[in-house]
Structure formats: structure tokens, C-alpha cells
């Protein structure tokens, strides 16, 4: 853990205990989670890594307000937030089923709105479980720029989590490795023609890493990674020389994000 953090810290050329903007100012974060314990703990954790949590929100509506008011670089949003109704009340069979079913994906809806209304604000979605690819597709829209999706369990891997927040804040894309693994598992016919190394490269591409980052992660030469990437492009029938968020989306699409 410690080793990994040190490596990545060095790769990004940042000081050991903080992720800052190029101007030396801390990255401004809005944190949205309906659970106050989590908000507090994550806020502290991000603070330790040099982020500035400018606002916290407990529901979708206050998240929208906070983003509009504070113009952060990134919003870290729990997907499971009440949007209309509070489900925490007593649940009995007599309760109107519509109420029980009223959408609990308040975080997702707010995240989509923010990406549309504030394109410069990155959004990192956190989810307890793998949401359906339909939801993910709606969230990404036409571009994976400044968009991230992680399983909530990742918040306890502090450094990797901080790196993900940082990447999204700077317009990068982050896709949870487990999501990528599940997608690759399902499109086995597509993946079967690749070598093990190429599969590793493909997975990291799908997670949103650049060629340089992939080279660093896999301890490979940049040239080697490029040749793997080219071969994968041919394999998946992708346009060559894609990079960044467009490449992520293309790879995810090839893996079945869009039907």
C-alpha cells in the first residue's frame, strides 16, 4: 500500500501528502453522501491528501445547490441518495408502493445534471454495487471526460482513492477495475484473442489510464505499451490514435457498455 502510493505520487510529480492544482492551490471538492459518518471520514481523508472539501451535501438537492454555489473542480457523489422520498421512515406493506420504489438513485441523477450544467466539474460516482450498464451509460453520456465510477469500498484505499479523485478533477476518467473485469468476463469472445499482457493493458485502458500510466503500472516500456494498444485497437476494431476520455469510452463501448 505504502509503496504503491509512493510510486504514484512520484509519477504525478506531487508532494507526498497532497494533491494540488498546478497553481499550488488545493483541489476543491464537494462531497455528497447521505451518511454523515462517511462524509466526515472521507472529508478528513481527502483533507489529509491535500484536497479542500468546500461543501458537503446529504441529498441530491443540496448537492446541486452546493456545486452551483462553490464551483468545485470535482464532486464525489454517493449514488444511493434519496432524491424525492426518504425511505428511512417506517416501512410497512400498507405504505404506498410508489413511495417505496421512488428512485433511490438521487446521486446518479444529480451527477448527470452536474455533468450537463457544469461541464468543467468532474464527477466521481461511488456505488455500493455494480450498477447496470444502462445507468453507467446514461452517466457517461457522449464523453467520459471528468467522469469516474468507483465501488464504494475503494474509499478505504486512501491513496488510490485520492488519485482517482485527482484524475477526475483534472478531466480524466476512472472506471472501477471490478466493473472492467465484469465487462471483460462477459465479452470473453472479444477478449479471448488477446494475450494475457494485452488483456492487462486493455483492462487498464478501460479503467481510464493513459499509456504512460499503464507503462508505469505494468513496468513496461512506453513503446511496448503502444504496440499492445495498437494491437488491441485492431482487435476491437477501434479507431487508432484515440487517447484520453474518448479512448475510455470507445473501449467501454467495445466491451458492451452500450448495446
Amino acid at each position: 500500500m505504502t509503496t504503491r502510493r509512493t510510486e504514484e505520487t512520484e509519477r504525478h510529480g506531487k508532494q507526498a501528502d497532497g494533491w494540488t492544482t498546478s497553481g499550488g492551490k488545493p483541489v476543491r471538492v464537494v462531497l455528497a453522501d447521505d451518511n454523515a459518518f462517511i462524509r466526515e471520514a472521507v472529508a478528513r481523508s481527502l483533507g489529509d491528501f491535500g484536497f479542500e472539501v468546500v461543501a458537503e451535501a446529504g441529498d441530491a438537492a443540496s448537492l446541486r445547490t452546493a456545486v452551483a454555489a462553490t464551483a468545485p473542480q470535482v464532486a464525489v457523489v454517493d449514488i444511493r441518495m434519496p432524491s424525492t422520498w426518504d425511505l428511512a421512515g417506517p416501512v410497512t406493506p400498507a405504505v404506498n408502493p410508489r413511495m417505496l420504489l421512488s428512485d433511490q438513485l438521487g446521486g446518479l441523477h444529480a451527477a448527470k445534471d452536474i455533468r450537463y450544467e457544469h461541464p468543467v466539474v468532474g464527477v466521481l460516482l461511488l456505488s455500493e454495487y455494480l450498477v447496470s450498464s444502462q445507468h453507467l451509460e446514461r452517466f457517461f453520456g457522449d464523453s467520459a471526460r471528468g467522469a469516474g465510477y468507483l465501488l464504494k469500498a475503494r474509499v478505504t484505499g486512501l491513496a488510490a482513492f485520492a488519485e482517482a479523485v485527482h484524475r477526475v478533477a483534472h478531466g480524466g476518467s476512472v472506471i472501477d477495475p471490478e466493473v472492467v473485469a465484469a465487462m471483460m468476463g462477459r465479452r470473453r469472445s472479444l477478449v479471448d484473442g488477446l494475450s494475457n499482457r494485452e488483456r492487462e493493458v486493455l483492462a487498464l485502458m478501460a479503467e481510464g489510464l493513459s499509456n504512460g500510466a499503464i507503462a508505469g503500472r505494468l513496468r513496461l516500456q512506453g513503446k511496448t505499451v503502444e504496440s499492445h494498444v495498437n494491437h488491441i485497437f485492431v482487435r476491437l476494431g477501434l479507431e487508432p490514435e484515440l487517447d484520453g476520455h474518448r479512448r475510455v469510452l470507445a473501449v467501454l463501448t467495445a466491451l458492451g457498455l452500450r448495446h
Binding site: S45, L101, D103, V131, R186
Partner: protein
Amino acid sequence: MNAGVVTASVTQPRPRQRPSLLSGRRSPLVYGFAGAGGLLTATGLVFKVQQGGHSWPDAIVNCLGGLLFLAAGILAHTRRPDNRVGLLMVTVGFGLALENLQLSTTSWVHSVGMLVARASSGFLAHLVLAFPEGRLHSLFERALVVTSYASVFLIVPIAVPFDDTSRHPVHTPNALLVTSRPDLDRLLNGIVEQIGAVVGVCIVVILVRRWRAGSPPKRRVLAPVLLAVLVGGVATAANGLVRPYPLRLELLWIYWISLCVLPVGFLAGVLRVHLGDGSVRTLVIQLSGALPPNRLRAALARALRDPSLQVGYWRADADAFVDQDGRVLPMPPPGSGRDVRLMERDGRPVAILVHDSALSEDGKGMDAIAAAAGLALDNQRLADEVRVQLEEVRASRNRIMAATDAERRRLERDLHDGAQQRLVAATLYLRQLEHRLGDTIDHAAAELLDRAAAGLDAAIAELRELARGIHPAVLTEAGLVAAADMLAARMPMPIELTATDLPRLTPAAELAGYYVISEALANTLKHARARRVEIDICYEDGLLRVRVSDDGVGGAAIVPVASSPSVHSAPDTDAAPVRLPPGTRSEADAFLHHGTGLLGLRDRVAALDGTLAVDSSPGLGTTVAATLPAIPIRQGGRQ
């Protein structure tokens, strides 16, 4: 109306035939008479031929009349041993044959024949009056019968000693001749003829009155007999009035022909009163299907051949019998020609049949039809009760299921919002501590910290699985497709998930669909040795269809074994066919252990009026398909 009174007044035994040596049993006496009658008829035919002067048609019709009575009598007796009509018909036939003795050219046989020369008339009068029930209805009728018996068995023999037959055209000597007194003989025979005419007229009048008073069923019974008796009776009466002796040939012919028609008419009447096995059978078959009350009444009326039949259903709350429209059915007063038949079950009144009194004559047939109707009516009542109870049970099962589901949802939420979040927060603080301490602590201390945090992570993962097993939050929050996607992501083999853009559906239907997929995948993982799995979800025409098919070994069957929630019956259940990656093992285990079991699954699907089918031939994979009625639900949030 009081139920007790009704029961008492209706269930008291109907006045049956008086106990006699014939009642209810097939009697050798009848067959004895019939046998003797048959022999005598044959003998009579021989006599006629010997005597000569009789045309063939005369001989044949004469024999035929007697034989028809004998045959019809035996048939009637066989079918209705408790009805005397059979016996009486046989005696008429016997009497007719007896009369033929006088045709003998042997003197003493001829004389014996003369003694019983009119035997059949007495029996015939008795038969006609006793028809169709087999008993006489009034003192007057008894008097008529006694008179005619006296006339033919007393007055006729008295005249015999005075009849000098040597003066007849066929002169067989009279062995009993005392003195030749033609005047006395003519007088006595004249009396007999006059009595016969009067009795005949009386019988015709009685029959006509019965006809006029009779209900349709009764009229149908009386019709053929009345016709034959009218014709024959008129002929006899005419013969009695028109002299001289011997009989006019035309009248004799009419008499014989009507005599031949009579037994057929009697037989038809007896069998008509008899509610044949056929109608009971038909009725039972009709009643075996559930009949609405109006069709039931029609079927009963048809079986009883009584269009006026009324069915009264017992209404305990009204303390009365009501017809199919709920109107109270009035009890017919005694002597109205209508009888009431009560049908009870376990001492409780079920229904009554108000029917024509003529039907009461066929006790057994009525018993059978009433039993069948009572069974059907009781079944109808029981079916109604069971339906109501079933509806109650179903409603309560649905309530219990909904309550359980709601409780599990609440429990999951409590776990998620409470313990789980606190554990995540605690882990975060521990990791922050670890991060802050950094290189300032020794290796052992760092390892302890890491172990503590890793242990917390594991606890969180287990708690998350536990919560998911209690209730899949993803289903409630993101819908069935998302939940299926999540289930599919846990499987170690490729899963093809095909789903139309599903609306959010009734929670119970979504949950049932989720459990179908979850259970099918669990079984595939456990037994099927499948390489790939397909999941199809679609919603159309108000039906949620969920189908999970694998390419595994197949051979699965729905076996309702409570202890084993498996649809597969593969023998090597212990040998895991699929090696799970280490990361997914605990998930897969939890996945299996949180399954609700196939039995529970079937209950769940059935509670929603859905269907669950498992199609699994050995070697051809397994397909689990469920169809669930579901209603789309407007989403609270935005798409």
C-alpha cells in the same frame, strides 16, 4: 319458516306401497304366472287350430295380446319390483290364456275353461285402476275391482251348469252341465255383461278425471293407457249393449287390437314413472361440471321430466329456502299435487326440490336424483366455501410475504445505514492513522494497523453480502435489470444478459423475478457445469418474463424437497464443477446460501399468480422461466 318444521314435514316417510309379498323384491310368483300363462297360450293356439273355424289373424292376435301382457308384466316387474303393475299385467296375460281353455274339444277341459271364461276382465279392471302406482286410490275403486272379480269368478261359474254347449256352433259337451236352462244362462251372462259395461264406463270416467287433474308428467304416463282403455272400453261397452250374442266381429277386432296396445301402454307408463337409470346417469354427468344455479334447475327438471320443478337453496341467515333469485320458496300445501323433497347433509338442510307428486311414485329413481342433486348442491356450497377460504389464504399469504419483504428491506437498510457505514468510517480513520504515522512506527506496529484495517474491510464485505442476502438493495434502488447485471457480474462464466428497457414494476414482481434469476444462477453454478448462461428479461402485455438458460448438463427437475433448494438432481452435488476465482468464492457462497430455495420460489411466484417452469433435458442444458403479472410504476425520480 322454521327449519325444524320443514325437516319434520318433509322427511317423514312417504306412504309407500303396503308391505306385501311382492314389495321391493322380484317375486317367483310373477314368473310362475308368466310361465303358466305362456304354456296356456300355446295350448290355446293348439285348441284353436284343432277346433277350426278361427282365422289365422284371429289366432295370432289372440295369442299376441296375452303374450304381450306377460312380457310387459315381466319387464315391468323386473324394472320396478316394488310396483304391483307388473304382477297385474302378468295376471291379465295369464287370464287371457286361461280363457282359451274353453276352446278345447276335450269336454272337461272345455268346462274348466268355461268357469274362467272371463278371467282376464277382472284382472284387467284391477290393472287399469291400479295403474301406474300399483295400488288402488279409493274405496270406490276397490269396490269396482271387487265387483268385477265377483262378476267374472262367481257369476260366470254359476251360469256354467245351465249352459248346454251341445247347442253351440262348436259343440264340445259341457262336463259340468246339470240342466239345460238357456234362459238362466242368458240372464246370468247378461248380468255379467251389464256389470262389465258399467265397470268399463266407471273406469273410463275415472281415467278421464285423472287425466284432467293430472300434471304434465302424470298425463304423459296416463296417455297411452287411457287411449287403449277408451277404445277397448267403448268396444266392450258397445258389445254389452249391442245384442245378440256372440260378439260382433268388428268390435271383437277393435277389442283385440286395443288389448294388444294396452300392455305396451302400461309398460311405457311404468317405465316413464320410473326415472330411468339413463336420466340419472345423464344428470350425474351434467352435475359433475360446475353448474350455475339456473342451469342446475334446468338439468334437474330435465332429468325428472318435470318442467315445473323448483329448487330451493337453504339460506341459514334467512332461515328459509330461497330460489335462484333469492326469493323465499313457499311450501306447497298438502294435496296440491306437489311434493317437497329435502336434501340434507350432516343433518343440515342443503336444499329442497318442489316437484310433481307423480314423481314420488318412483322412490328409488327420486332417491337417486335427489342424491345426485344434493351432492351437486352441497359441492356447490363447499366449492363456494373453499373458494372464499382460498381467497382468504391467498390474501393472507400475500400479506405475509409483503410484510416479510418489507421487514427484510428495513433490516437491510438498517444494516447498511448503521453498522456498515460506521465500520467503513472506522476503517477510513484507521487508514488515515496508518497514513499519518507513515514511517514513524516500526514494521510490526505498521503490520498490526494494516491487519486491523484489512479485518475491518473483510467485515464490511461480509456485512454487505449479508445485507444483500437479506434484501437486494440494488433491486429496490435501480431495478431488475441492474440487479440482474449485478448477479451476472458475480458469475465466473460469461453471461449474456438481454433486457428490454424495462419500466419499474410492482416490488413483489421485481423481487420474484430477481429471486428466479438468483436461484437459477445458483443452481447453474452448483450443478450444471455450464460454460455460458443467458438471461432474458422482458416486460410485455402486463407480464414480466424472466428466463435463465445454461448450456450445462441439464437433468434438472422441480423437486419439492424442503431441505434441498436445488432444481438440479445431478448426483455429484459436492463436486463443484466450476472453480471460482478466489475473489468471488465468498460471494458465490453467500449467493448460494441466501437463496430462498425453489419451493419458496414457487410459492412466491404462485402468490403473484405467475408460473415457473423448468425445462431441462439431460445434456441439453437447463432453462428456468418465470412469467409474472406486473404493473409498471411511475418513478419518483427522473430518468
